[in-house]
């Protein structure tokens, strides 16, 4: 097996109205934490959604490999079963489907095995406690009437229960207060520690990164990676924002 967990080669993608990503190259190895930053409208969410296989986005060029398999055309559920996960920026509400039973169905689909109920129940309770979620949320309809913060916690809960090899966190920190960011960060740390899972954190702020050891930072501007580097890039963005990259792009 290849050392690379995710390999994106010259990927272009977009929606019907036009191409948004132009020739992205990206490699993530098992256990690594990558951060994708960029100004609004740069295509960050498009990249996350394209990697996860959202049919609303079409791949117009290049390819995506995960765990050595070409998944460029694979449906989202196959990607999930291979070990990919995405925390949604706006998690969808599904009336009549409880959070708990949905997680159970997802685990069953991914493992193809029946679930040990007691063990599952215990893990669910512990994880909800870690995320400071009220246990009653387990029986509530998936995301229905959840506050913004509760929805994001429910996403991290699903991540911890499903233990993926790579988790894409799409703006998981946006719209959260300081305490909620801290709780979500604790969840992300736990994921990293427990499973040595890799992360691709899409964000435009740096609050969520404070407690995490970042291996690699990528700056996405107008659908292209304008820079890639170590965690020092985060500090640079903190100091001077994306201004420099936008100018460079304008001159080019």
């Amino acid at each position: 097996m290849s050392e690379k967990l995710l390999e994106v080669r010259n990927l272009s993608a977009g929606i019907e109205e036009g191409e948004i990503l132009h020739g992205i190259d990206l490699e993530i190895r098992p256990g690594e934490t990558h951060v994708l930053m960029g100004p609004n409208g740069a295509g960050k969410s498009t990249l996350g959604n394209t990697l996860m296989g959202n049919p609303a986005y079409q791949v117009t060029g290049g390819s995506v490999y995960f765990a050595g398999q070409d998944i460029t055309k694979a449906p989202a559920n196959e990607r999930a079963c291979l070990g990919m996960f995405m925390s949604f920026q706006n998690p969808l509400e599904v009336p009549g489907l409880s959070l708990e039973s949905f997680i159970r169905s997802a685990i069953r689909q991914q493992t193809g095995k029946p679930i040990r109920l007691m063990q599952y129940q215990r893990k669910l309770e512990e994880t909800m406690a870690l995320l400071q979620m009220d246990p009653s949320y387990a029986q509530r309809d998936l995301n229905l009437g959840f506050s913004g913060g509760e929805k994001k916690k429910a996403e991290i809960l699903q991540m911890l229960m499903l233990s993926p090899k790579l988790a894409i966190l799409d703006e998981t920190d946006s719209g959260l207060d300081v305490d909620a960011v801290r709780t979500v960060s604790a969840g992300i740390e736990a994921y990293h520690r427990q499973t040595d899972g890799a992360l691709l954190i899409i964000t435009h702020s740096t609050r969520i990164l404070e407690a995490l050891k970042v291996d690699r930072v990528h700056i996405l501007v107008k659908g292209q990676l304008a820079a890639s580097g170590g965690s020092e890039l985060v500090e640079e963005i903190n100091r001077s924002g994306f201004e420099a990259y936008l100018k460079e792009d304008a001159q080019a």
Binding site: G53, A56, A76, N77, A80, C81, M86, P95, I103, L162
Partner: protein, 467 residues
């Protein structure tokens, strides 16, 4: 037929098995005075019933076909055999029911359900009941649960005569008249004052015969302060000619009593289901309808509740699933007569594969119904671009202090929601089924557990297009 064909994996074939050679007597097709007289003779009707049938036939001939709902052009009543008697008389032990008929009910899980969670069972096969039994513990409380034919001549003959087609008169509509002329089978239930029947009674109607009609009559009287849950199940195999179901259900809920009437209807796709159900609810009594309609080619079904007594209350919860080739016109009607009466209609309808689902709600608040309260909440889900879903609300309020509300929602499955569920590892078909089951959840959890499971199974079959 091989066992394989009837396994759940094979979709609707669970209900589609056909038994051959189970009828002992089949009335000539069509509808004449002579045929109605012969049915009456076959059934050893009391004299008043024979007169009643002939009068109903005269009214039938004078009335016009309904011209406002789905087309029933494919139905030629002249070619329907109104009476098909199976090769057995009624038994009170499954062992005595002829094997091929017993096997049919075994496949539908009826004897097992009876053993596990029912207080009594009536099983009708074509025109006649082939099995009827009620638990001793229930019978000893004075609860009467019997076939309509026995009821006509038995201890409660007077009571039956006083109530039979009084709530649904034969003049109500053409198919009520038809029912009055050729009805056969069905159940009579009487729950005496103050008696609470803790576990449900069930009637199951199976129409096996080709090109036949089923016209069972259900009459239930729940006396003052009594409590009953009655379950009705129906299915039929698919023939390539039209079958007709024109049953009639009359429910009397006396002062302070409660009746819950649950139905899971799963007729085959050649069935014209023109059924009439009505309840009369007296002072401080409560009526609960739970209804799941999945089958039939065309349905006209609008259970009506008359809230007669002060403080009477009714809740109607229903779900309709119209698939390919189905036009299901259903609804609920509430008539408020008493003061402080309240009604609540909650329905869900799902259409798929070009199926048409229409829901008609009618709330009438008459002058006498001071301080009445009524709410109607209809949601529809369309699973593709070729299906149709309509809601037709009607409110007629004649008081100044009524509190009425209506809400209707029509939606589609969002692609984003499907992607969201798929991103956790579930297949697209499974994701859609989860969303549809979730949509139906508030109704399915009202059904008895076994039926909720059956309904979920039906939704999955429908979603996979195998129904």
């Amino acid at each position: 037929m091989s066992e394989q064909r009837i396994s759940g994996e094979q979709g609707r074939s669970l209900y589609d098995f056909i038994d051959v050679g189970t009828d002992a007597y089949r009335m000539t097709e069509g509808l004449t005075e002579e045929i109605v007289t012969r049915i009456s003779e076959e059934k050893h009707d009391p004299e008043w019933m024979r007169t009643f049938r002939l009068e109903a036939l005269r009214i039938y001939e004078q009335m016009r076909m309904p011209d406002w709902g789905p087309s029933i052009e494919g139905l030629d009543v002249g070619r329907i055999a109104a009476y098909v008697r199976p090769k057995t008389d009624m038994k009170d032990s499954w062992d005595q029911v002829p094997e091929e008929i017993r096997t049919a009910f075994d496949r539908l899980g009826i004897p097992k359900a009876e053993h596990e969670f029912l207080a009594g069972v009536g099983a009708q096969y074509d025109s006649e009941l082939v099995y009827h039994n009620v638990r001793e513990s229930v019978a000893s409380q004075g609860v009467v649960y019997t076939d309509m034919e026995s009821a006509l001549t038995g201890e409660y003959a007077e009571m039956v005569r006083d109530h039979f087609m009084k709530l649904v008169p034969v003049t109500d509509h053409k198919f009520a008249a038809l029912h009055g002329a050729v009805w056969s089978g069905g159940s009579f239930v009487y729950v005496p004052k103050g008696v609470h029947v803790d576990i449900p009674l069930q009637s199951y109607f199976r129409l096996n015969a080709r090109g036949a009609g089923q016209f069972e009559h259900t009459l239930i009287i729940v006396d003052e302060g009594a409590d009953l849950h009655f379950i009705e199940g129906c299915s039929a195999p698919k023939w390539n000619v039209a079958n007709l179901h024109a049953g009639c259900v009359e429910l009397f809920v006396r002062k302070g009593a409660r009746l819950r009437y649950s139905t899971v209807e799963n007729w085959s796709r050649n069935m014209y289901n023109l059924n009439t159900k009505r309840a009369l609810v007296e002072e401080n009594a409560r009526m609960e309808w739970v209804s799941g309609s999945f089958g039939s080619h065309v349905s006209y079904l609008y259970p009506t509740t008359i809230l007669k007594g002060a403080g009477a209350d009714c809740e109607y919860t229903g779900i309709t699933f119209a698939g390919q080739g189905q036009n299901l016109d259903t609804g609920a009607r509430m008539v408020h007569l008493g003061e402080d009466t309240s009604s609540m209609i909650t329905t869900k309808s799902i259409s798929r594969g070009g199926g048409i689902s229409t829901f008609r709600s009618a709330v009438e608040i008459r002058k006498s119904a001071a301080r009445a309260r009524a709410t109607v909440d209809c949601s529809s889900l369309m699973l593709d671009d070729i299906s149709r879903s309509d809601t037709v609300p009607e409110m007629d309020v004649r008081t100044g202090d009524a509190n009425v509300g209506h809400e209707a929602k029509i939606g589609r499955i969002s692609d984003e929601a499907v992607f969201y569920l798929m991103s956790r590892g579930v297949s697209e078909a499974e994701a859609r089924a989860m969303i549809v089951s979730g949509f139906a959840d508030s109704v399915s959890k009202e059904l008895p557990l076994e039926y909720a499971a059956e309904m979920n199974n039906l939704i999955h079959l429908e979603m996979e297009g195998r129904a």
